[in-house]
C-alpha cells in the first residue's frame, strides 16, 4: 500500500515538473534568443548558483548520512584480532577519501559558479602547465604508495595463516541453502571428504571418508561455537554452487568453491555475551527492537503473527549469489569462554557415533 502511495506521489511530482517547464517556457517567450536551445547569460547565472546549491547538497547528504547511518559497525567493534587492523586501515582510507572529496567537489562546483559565462568575457588561453601536472601526479603517487604499503602489510598478516600458533581446524560446509560446520576433534585433523561419498541414508551428509581414521572423532554441527582468544582456521567447502562465507563482525570472508578447499583464519577476541553488553550494542539492539515492535503492531492489526524480539548473535551469512533462498542462508556463531566451549563440544556426537 505504501508503495502504491509513493508511486502516486512520484506521478504527481512529474506533473508538477511538467507545469514548471510550461511556466519556464512561457516566461521566456518574449526574448528571441531564449528558445534556440543555447544557454543565455541568464541561464548561466541560474545554473551557476544551482552549482553552489548542489555543492551544499553534497555536503549536507554527507553529513546526514554520517549522523543517521554513520553508526558504522564495520569501523568499530571488530570481534577478531586482525579486525582492528582492518578498521584502522579503513579509517585512514576514509579520512583520505573525505579530504579529497570535500576539496575537489568544492573546486569543481565553485569554479563552475565563479566562471559562469557572460557575454563579452573571454576565457584564459591556458593549455598546459608542466609543474602543476607534475604536482598532481606526484601527490597521488605518494598517498597511494602509503596506502598500498599499509594495505599489503595488513593483507599479508591476515592471509598468511600462522600454522605454529596451532589453530583449531573447523570446516565450513555450504550448500543450497544452509551451512554446516565440522570440528576436527581431538586430533585436530579433519577426515578426508568428497561429495561423491555422501550417503544420506547413513547420515553421512558431508561426504566424509568413513575409512579415514582421522574422520572418526570429527564433529558435525549446525551452530558454530568458538572459544574466545583461540586462533581458528576455517577450511571451506561447497557441495553445489559458489557461496561465500561472510562473517562481518570478524572482518572475515572467503568464497566456498565446489571442487576445492579454501581457507581463512582469525582469532575471536570477544565473547557473544561481552559483545551484547557493550553500550553500542545495547543501543543498537534497543533500536532494532523498537523497530520490530512497531512492525509487530502493524502485523497484529492484519491478524498476522508478531515478530520475535531480536537478540544479538555473531553471524555467518552467504554473500555470493547462490539461488532462490540466497537471502536466508545463515548460521549463528557463538563465541564463548574455553570452559563453556569444552562443555558444549563434549555433548556433541562424533562422526562415528552419528553414522546410522
Amino acid at each position: 500500500m505504501t508503495a502504491l502511495f509513493i508511486i502516486i506521489i512520484v506521478l504527481f511530482a512529474a506533473v508538477a515538473i511538467w507545469q514548471m517547464v510550461k511556466i519556464f517556457d512561457l516566461a521566456q517567450v518574449s526574448t528571441d534568443t531564449s528558445n534556440n536551445g543555447i544557454a543565455t547569460d541568464y541561464d548561466n547565472k541560474i545554473n551557476g548558483y544551482l552549482m553552489l546549491a548542489f555543492l551544499a547538497f553534497i555536503y549536507i547528504i554527507t553529513i546526514i548520512s554520517f549522523v543517521y547511518w554513520g553508526d558504522l559497525p564495520l569501523m568499530s567493534n571488530a570481534a577478531s584480532e586482525h579486525g582492528s587492523e582492518v578498521d584502522n586501515l579503513m579509517m585512514i582510507s576514509m579520512i583520505v577519501i573525505f579530504t579529497v572529496q570535500i576539496i575537489t567537489q568544492f573546486l569543481l562546483h565553485y569554479f563552475a559558479f565563479k566562471y559562469r559565462g557572460e557575454k563579452g568575457k573571454k576565457a584564459l588561453y591556458f593549455a598546459d602547465h608542466n609543474t602543476l601536472e607534475a604536482v598532481w601526479t606526484i601527490i597521488p603517487v605518494i598517498v597511494l604508495a602509503g596506502l598500498i604499503i599499509y594495505g599489503l602489510f595488513t593483507w599479508n598478516s591476515i592471509m598468511n595463516i600462522d600454522e605454529d600458533a596451532d589453530p583449531m581446524v573447523v570446516e565450513l560446509y555450504a550448500q543450497q541453502f544452509g551451512w554446516t560446520a565440522r570440528y576436527a576433534g581431538q586430533d585436530n585433523v579433519l577426515g578426508l571428504a568428497n561429495v561423491r561419498l555422501i550417503d544420506i541414508d547413513r547420515a553421512n551428509v558431508l561426504g566424509i571418508d568413513e575409512a579415514d581414521p582421522n574422520a572418526e572423532d570429527d564433529i558435525i554441527v549446525k551452530e558454530l561455537h568458538l572459544p574466545v582468544g583461540k586462533p581458528v582456521l576455517f577450511e571451506i567447502r561447497s557441495q553445489d554452487v559458489l557461496h561465500s562465507a561472510y562473517m562481518p563482525h570478524f572482518r572475515a570472508q572467503m568464497n566456498c568453491v565446489p571442487g576445492m578447499i579454501t581457507k581463512f583464519g582469525f582469532t575471536p577476541t570477544i565473547t557473544t555475551k561481552e559483545m551484547r553488553e557493550t553500550p553500542e550494542m545495547i543501543d543498537k539492539v534497543q533500536n532494532i527492537n523498537n523497530i520490530r515492535a512497531d512492525k509487530s503492531k502493524e502485523l497484529m492489526a492484519k491478524g498476522e503473527e508478531e515478530l520475535d524480539p531480536y537478540e544479538f548473535h555473531f553471524l555467518l551469512l552467504c554473500n555470493k549469489i547462490c539461488g532462490k533462498s540466497h537471502y536466508n542462508m545463515q548460521m549463528n556463531i557463538i563465541v564463548e569462554t574455553q570452559e563453556e566451549y569444552d562443555a558444549w563440544i563434549a555433548e556433541q556426537k562424533t562422526f562415528k557415533e552419528s553414522l546410522k
Partner: protein
C-alpha cells in the same frame, strides 16, 4: 598520411552522391555512419528504459519486501502471484538489469552511438572504413537484443545467476530455474553481442588509423576520437576472452565437459563433473569484465573532455597528459581483473599483486580529474545542458572513484566485497558517470544527429533532478554496505540485524523512483524534438571540430565539396590574436601565428 587522404578522396567522389536511396537502404539497412549511430542510440535508449524499469521494480521490492504491488502484478504476471514478487524473479531482474545496462546501454548504446557518429566526422572522413561491416555490426546487435528480450518470456524465466554468471549456478538448471533455457539464450545473445562489438571495434581502429584527413595528425585528434580509438583496442583485446568463457560454459552446460565444474552434489545426486574450477571462469570473465568498465567509461571521458572545453571556451588543459592517461588507464585496465577475486580462493600473493596494479589506476584517473577542473578554471562557462551533465560526470566520477581506493585494497575488500558498498562504488563511478557522459553527448550532438535543438529548459530540469536523485540513491548505499548488508538479497527481513536499515532502503527507493520518473521528461524532450525542435544552425555551440563544418542536413559523404584540411589542434578556444573565441581546425594559421605546442 597525406597519400591516404588523397586516395580516399578520389575513391569517395565515385560513390558519394549518386546512389538511389529507398526507405529500406536509408533507414533500415543503412551503411551510413550517421544513420547507424542513430540506430544504436535509439535501440540503446529502448534497452535502457527496460533496464531502468527493472531496477525500479527490484528497488520497490527491497524497500517494501513482499508487499503486494499492482505494478508487479501487471508487469510480471505469474512471477508475482498476488502482486508479491517471486524470489527467483528478483534475481532474474537484477541479472538482466546488470546485463542490459553494462553491455546493451553503456557499451553499445554509448560507444556504438558516438564512435559511429563522431569518428568519421571528427577525423574528416566520408564514412567508416567499411560501411557494410558497420551495418552488419548494428544488425547483429539488434538480433542480440531481441534474443535477450525474448529470454524474458521463457516458461522458466530468464538468466538469474547475476550478470557475472558464475558457474556452477549458471551451469546447472537444477540449481535455479533461470539456468535452463534462460541462460542458454543469455549466452547466445552475448556471443552475438561480442561479435558485433568486435566488428565495430575493428572498423573504428582501421578508420582512425587510415582515414584521417590531410593535416589531422594523431596529436591533433580531439580527445573524443582518442578515447573511442583506445576503447576499441581494449575491446578487441578483451572481448574474445569473454567469448571463450561463454563457449566453454556452453560446452559444460550442453556437452558434458568439465571446464568450470567439479565435485558437485545437488538435489540428491552426484554429477559426473570432475577437475574443472569455477575460479577459472572468474579469471576469464573478469579479464573482460574489468576492461569492460573502461570500455564504458573511456568514451564518456572523451565526450566530457570535448564538452568541457567547448563550453568553457578554453582549451582542454594538459592535452598530452589526457592522452597519456587514456593510454595508461587502457594498459592498466588489462592487468587488474583479479581485484574482483580477492576472496575467490586464489593465492593471496596474487591478491597483493592485483592490489598494487589496481591502486595504480588511481594516478591517471586523478590526473584526468584535476585536468578537467583546471579546464573550467577561468573559463567563460556556457551552462548548456550538455555542460551540466559534463560537470556532473566529473562530480560523480570523483565521488565514485575515491571509494575505489577501498574496494581495490584487498585487506579492506575482504569486508566490503559483494556488499552494497561495492554497488554504490561502481554505480557512481561507471554507471551514473557513463550515463551522464552519454546524456552530455546526446544534448551536445543532438543538433548534428537530428538537425534540431532539444529544449534546454527541459534539459536543465532533467539534469538537476537526476543529479539530486543519483546522489540520493547511491550515497547512502555506501553506509548500508559498511553495515555489512550483502547485495542480491531478495529481502533483508531474514536478518533482524539489518532491521535498522529499513528506513535507508526506503529513502534510496524513493530517490530512485524520482530519478526514474524524471527520465520521462528527457524521453519526451528527445523524441518530440526530433520532429518539433527548433531548427539547428550549422555550429550552435561555436565549436572547433570538423563535424560542425558539415551541412545541417545529412548528406552521403558528409561534406558536399572537398574534405576540409586541418591546420591546428581541436582546442583553439579563446586564443589570443583572434576576434572569435574559437578557431575551427580547418582555419589555416595566420601569418606569424604559432600552433599550440601540445
Amino acid at each position: 598520411m597525406s597519400t591516404h587522404a588523397v586516395d580516399i578522396h578520389a575513391h569517395d567522389d565515385g560513390h558519394g552522391h549518386h546512389q538511389k536511396e529507398t526507405f529500406i537502404t536509408k533507414y533500415i539497412f543503412s551503411q551510413d555512419h550517421k544513420m547507424i549511430a542513430k540506430q544504436y542510440l535509439i535501440t540503446g535508449t529502448l534497452m535502457g528504459i527496460i533496464g531502468v524499469m527493472m531496477s525500479l521494480m527490484f528497488r520497490i521490492q527491497i524497500a517494501w519486501p513482499e508487499e503486494p504491488n499492482i505494478l508487479f502484478e501487471a508487469l510480471l504476471g505469474k512471477w508475482a502471484p498476488g502482486g508479491v514478487m517471486d524470489a527467483d524473479m528478483y534475481l532474474a531482474l537484477v541479472t538482466i538489469h546488470g546485463t542490459i545496462m553494462v553491455f546493451f546501454v553503456l557499451t553499445a548504446g554509448l560507444s556504438g552511438t558516438f564512435s559511429n557518429l563522431l569518428i568519421p566526422y571528427q577525423i574528416g572522413a566520408r564514412d567508416m572504413a567499411s560501411g557494410f561491416i558497420n551495418m552488419l555490426s548494428y544488425w547483429i546487435f539488434f538480433v542480440s537484443c531481441i534474443i535477450m528480450m525474448g529470454s524474458l518470456f521463457l516458461e522458466a524465466g530468464p538468466a538469474a545467476a547475476g550478470w557475472t554468471i558464475y558457474p556452477p549456478l549458471s551451469a546447472l538448471p537444477m540449481a535455479q530455474p533461470g539456468s535452463g533455457w534462460g541462460m542458454t539464450l543469455w549466452l547466445i545473445s552475448m556471443a552475438l553481442f561480442i561479435a558485433q562489438s568486435l566488428l565495430g571495434s575493428l572498423n573504428y581502429i582501421v578508420t582512425v588509423i587510415n582515414m584521417r584527413t590531410k593535416g589531422m595528425s594523431m596529436t591533433r585528434l580531439p580527445l573524443t576520437v582518442w578515447a573511442f580509438f583506445v576503447t576499441a583496442i581494449i575491446g578487441v583485446v578483451s572481448f574474445p576472452v569473454l567469448l571463450s568463457a561463454a563457449l566453454l560454459l556452453i560446452m559444460d552446460r550442453s556437452f558434458g565437459t568439465s571446464f568450470f565444474l567439479s565435485d558437485i552434489f545437488i538435489q540428491g545426486e552426484v554429477l559426473h563433473y570432475q577437475g574443472g574450477s569455477p575460479v577459472l571462469f572468474e579469471h576469464l570473465f573478469w579479464f573482460l569484465g574489468h576492461p569492460e568498465v573502461y570500455i564504458v567509461i573511456l568514451p564518456a571521458m572523451g565526450l566530457v573532455s570535448e564538452i568541457l572545453a567547448t563550453n568553457s571556451r578554453k582549451p582542454i588543459f594538459g592535452y598530452r597528459a589526457m592522452v597519456a592517461s587514456i593510454l595508461a588507464i587502457a594498459f592498466l585496465s588489462t592487468i587488474v581483473w583479479g581485484h574482483h577475486m580477492f576472496v575467490s580462493g586464489m593465492n593471496p600473493f596474487l591478491g597483493s599483486v592485483f592490489t598494487f596494479t589496481t591502486l595504480l589506476i588511481a594516478i591517471p584517473s586523478a590526473v584526468k580529474a584535476f585536468n578537467w577542473i583546471t579546464t573550467i578554471w577561468k573559463g567563460n562557462i556556457q551552462m548548456n545542458p550538455a555542460m551540466l551533465f559534463a560537470i556532473g560526470f566529473v562530480s560523480t566520477f570523483i565521488t565514485g572513484g575515491l571509494t575505489g581506493i577501498i574496494v581495490g585494497d584487498s585487506a579492506l575488500d575482504i569486508n566490503v566485497h559483494d556488499t552494497y558498498f561495492v554497488i554504490a562504488h561502481f554505480h557512481l563511478v561507471m554507471g551514473i558517470s557513463a550515463i551522464y557522459g552519454m546524456f552530455a553527448g546526446i544534448y551536445h550532438w543532438y543538433p548534428k544527429m537530428f538537425g534540431r535543438m532539444m529544449n534546454k529548459n527541459l534539459g536543465y530540469i532533467h539534469f538537476w533532478i537526476t543529479a539530486i536523485s543519483a546522489y540520493g540513491v547511491f550515497f547512502p548505499m555506501h553506509f548500508i554496505g559498511m553495515a555489512g548488508l550483502p547485495r542480491r538479497y531478495y529481502t533483508n527481513s531474514a536478518f533482524p540485524l539489518f532491521d535498522d536499515l529499513t528506513d535507508v532502503n526506503i529513502v534510496i527507493t524513493v530517490f530512485a523512483l524520482i530519478g526514474g520518473a524524471i527520465q520521462l521528461v528527457y524521453l519526451y524532450n528527445f523524441f518530440v524534438s526530433i520532429f518539433y525542435g527548433k531548427k539547428a544552425t550549422q555550429n550552435p555551440w561555436r565549436s572547433t571540430t570538423l563535424e560542425w563544418t558539415t551541412p545541417v542536413e545529412h548528406i552521403h559523404g558528409n561534406w558536399p565539396g572537398e574534405i576540409p584540411h586541418v591546420y591546428r589542434w581541436s582546442y583553439d578556444y579563446s586564443k589570443p590574436g583572434h576576434d572569435d573565441d574559437f578557431v575551427p581546425q580547418n582555419v589555416p594559421l595566420k601569418e606569424g601565428e604559432e600552433e599550440m605546442q601540445h
